[in-house]
């Protein structure tokens, strides 16, 4: 165990300041400071508010991660950091902090891709990744289907959202229904009390779109359909059945996500599906993915909810793989790349 690399990972691509500590393929501790409460009164993540919170939380979070993991910074063999994609100003705080750590400690730096990290985190949860793995990543910032032959240097994009991210659709529909930000947990909770009685549209699943955008997603039409439906009810002076709308909307999203993910597994002959990102915490998505994977003979892997949302453990997990596979470290001059392509695993 002790000969396994001890890697500290830093994640600041959105509103969570995450510091995770991994030894080899074992998670020692995952510390998170979230500024989500500060964003709630704005109805969405405000980049400058997030960046200010990252600066305040950075050192205390590093400190807490080390203390809870029972290690000192002197034990750290490498530092990993999300170098993109994400909010530019937020990423810069983490990247600058990681460089400062690597420089002060005299250890290598690994700038890694946020999306690849979402895939790699399952290594510390369920063991080595089957190669290749198919990954469905869904959050407020991304909705992607990835084919991953090697998470340290070969990640291929099969498709992604052409407009809103899945989590964004949850936030927008929550606003339409008068539910608080962030919308995901509130819609999930409401939906449990409702019935799927409204047939909302499934974007990019019919006609030519189903071929041209076979593995892509679109959620803005769905959001518009929900808001029109609600407005029509209100205009008619009828009460809005919030729970039924939430359940029907959630069904439309999770149906499309799981249907396309299973199709991608079949098309590429992959027997494993991993689901990650904040929306993976949605109970209906987990249940439907399980049901459809079982029916298709595909093995489903979903990390626990705390490792699906953005966190430092995922960055440390990928960093440790980089070290174990002997990948070259990053230069101290790497940028924070807000539009880092998903196919670029490291900086």
């Amino acid at each position: 165990m002790a000969d396994q690399p001890l890697v500290l990972g830093i994640e600041t691509s959105c509103d969570e300041t995450g510091v995770g500590i991994v030894r080899g393929e074992t998670l020692l501790f995952d510390a998170i400071a979230s500024s989500v409460d500060e964003h709630a009164r704005f109805g969405g993540v405000v980049p400058e508010v997030a960046s200010r919170a990252h600066l305040e939380a950075m050192v205390p979070t590093i400190e807490r991660a080390c203390r809870e993991a029972g290690v000192t910074l002197g034990d750290v063999d490498a530092v990993a950091v999300t170098s993109g994609p994400g909010l530019a100003g937020a990423l810069m705080v983490g990247v600058a902090s990681a460089k400062a750590l690597a420089l002060a400690l005299g250890v290598p730096l690994h700038g890694v891709n946020h999306l690849a990290s979402h895939v790699a985190v399952d290594i510390v949860e369920h063991g080595p990744l089957p190669e290749p793995t198919l990954a469905l990543l869904v959050s407020g910032g991304h909705s992607s289907l990835l084919l991953v032959p090697d998470v340290t240097d070969d990640v291929r994009s099969l498709g992604s959202t052409i407009d809103d991210a899945a989590g964004e659709a949850f936030d927008k529909v929550a606003r339409v229904l008068g539910l608080p930000f962030p919308g995901g947990p509130h819609i999930d909770r409401m939906a449990r009390e409702g019935q799927v009685v409204i047939d909302f549209p499934r974007g990019l699943t019919g006609g030519r779109d189903a071929e041209r955008h076979r593995f892509d997603f679109s959620f803005s039409g769905l959001k518009t359909a929900v808001s029109r439906w609600v407005q029509a009810r209100e205009a008619a002076g009828e009460p809005v059945p919030v729970a039924d709308v939430a359940a029907s909307f959630q069904e439309a999203v999770t149906d499309v996500l799981t249907r396309k993910a299973i199709d991608a597994c079949r098309t590429h002959g992959v027997g494993h599906l991993q689901v990650g990102g904040g929306v993976a915490a949605n109970s209906r998505l987990r249940a439907l993915a399980q049901e459809r994977c079982d029916a298709a003979g595909i093995q489903l892997r979903v990390p626990r909810p705390g490792l699906c949302t953005d966190n430092g453990a995922m960055v440390a997990a990928l960093g440790a793989q980089m070290v174990l596979k002997g990948r070259a470290p990053s230069d101290l001059a790497i940028p924070a790349d807000s539009s880092m392509p998903v196919t670029q695993v490291s900086a």
Binding site: H54, M58, L73, G89, V93, A96, K99, A100, A104, P335
Partner: protein, 222 residues
């Protein structure tokens, strides 16, 4: 004593290493859009040229602004993270204070007061007025962010340090020659002097502006 000084509040991304009484070693790049890329290599370079390792640093000084937010934070987070990792104190110094000291050093004793005006973007400046005293520049009021024309006229006529006069020559007619950006070595010297005098130096960013966003309640009130 081996002081590492960092400032990213002005157009210069500046690092200095002050080892004992030796001449400070500076590493500076003028590039206000690429702090994340430049700063860590500059720190590595300045330490190497001073013949020092990071582990030999005894304290860190950092400019707390005001300055454009994203760049300012790169300097601050670098300083506090290195300070934590090395187990050494980090001292925060107002960046305009440093420019004021540079201005007094560059002018004669007949100049008793100066204005510091730096680029705040959005056609505004960060500014503060300073008096020359026996123990350095003393601020006459809190730093502010305003359009150049908003700065009181008698203040604008003072000898002015920073990029304000370069950007708005009509508003600030009396530039202090060659004092445009924070000199990290001057920053390090102020931090040392204040530390010796027991002055508290919290590392608190001087943003002066609140984030550009309306709360849901504010939007509804519009």
């Amino acid at each position: 004593m081996l002081t590492l000084a960092i400032d990213t509040s002005t157009t210069a991304i500046g690092v200095a290493v002050l080892a004992g009484d030796a001449e400070p070693v500076r590493a500076v790049v003028l590039d206000a859009r690429a702090h994340t890329e430049h700063l860590a290599p500059l720190v590595a370079d300045a330490l190497a040229r001073a013949g020092a390792t990071p582990a030999e640093v005894t304290d860190i000084a950092v400019g707390t602004g005001p300055g454009p937010f994203t760049g300012l934070r790169v300097g601050l987070v670098t300083a506090v993270t290195m300070g934590y990792a090395l187990g050494v104190p980090v001292h925060g110094v107002g960046s305009l204070d440093v420019l004021a000291e540079q201005a007094f050093a560059a002018t004669g004793d007949d100049v008793g007061e100066v204005l510091v005006a730096t680029d705040a973007r959005r056609r505004e400046v960060y500014w503060a007025r300073y008096a020359r005293t026996a123990d350095g520049a003393r601020a006459l009021g809190e730093p502010a962010v305003e359009a150049p024309a908003q700065v009181p006229e008698h203040t604008r006529m003072l000898p002015t340090a920073g990029r304000g006069p370069l950007l708005y020559p009509d508003a600030f007619p009396r530039p202090v020659a060659d004092v445009l950006d924070v000199d990290p070595a001057a920053l390090g010297a102020i931090a040392r002097r204040r530390a010796a005098a027991g002055v508290p130096m919290p590392v608190e960013p001087l943003y002066l502006r609140r984030p550009d966003a309306l709360t849901t309640a504010e939007r509804a009130a519009r």
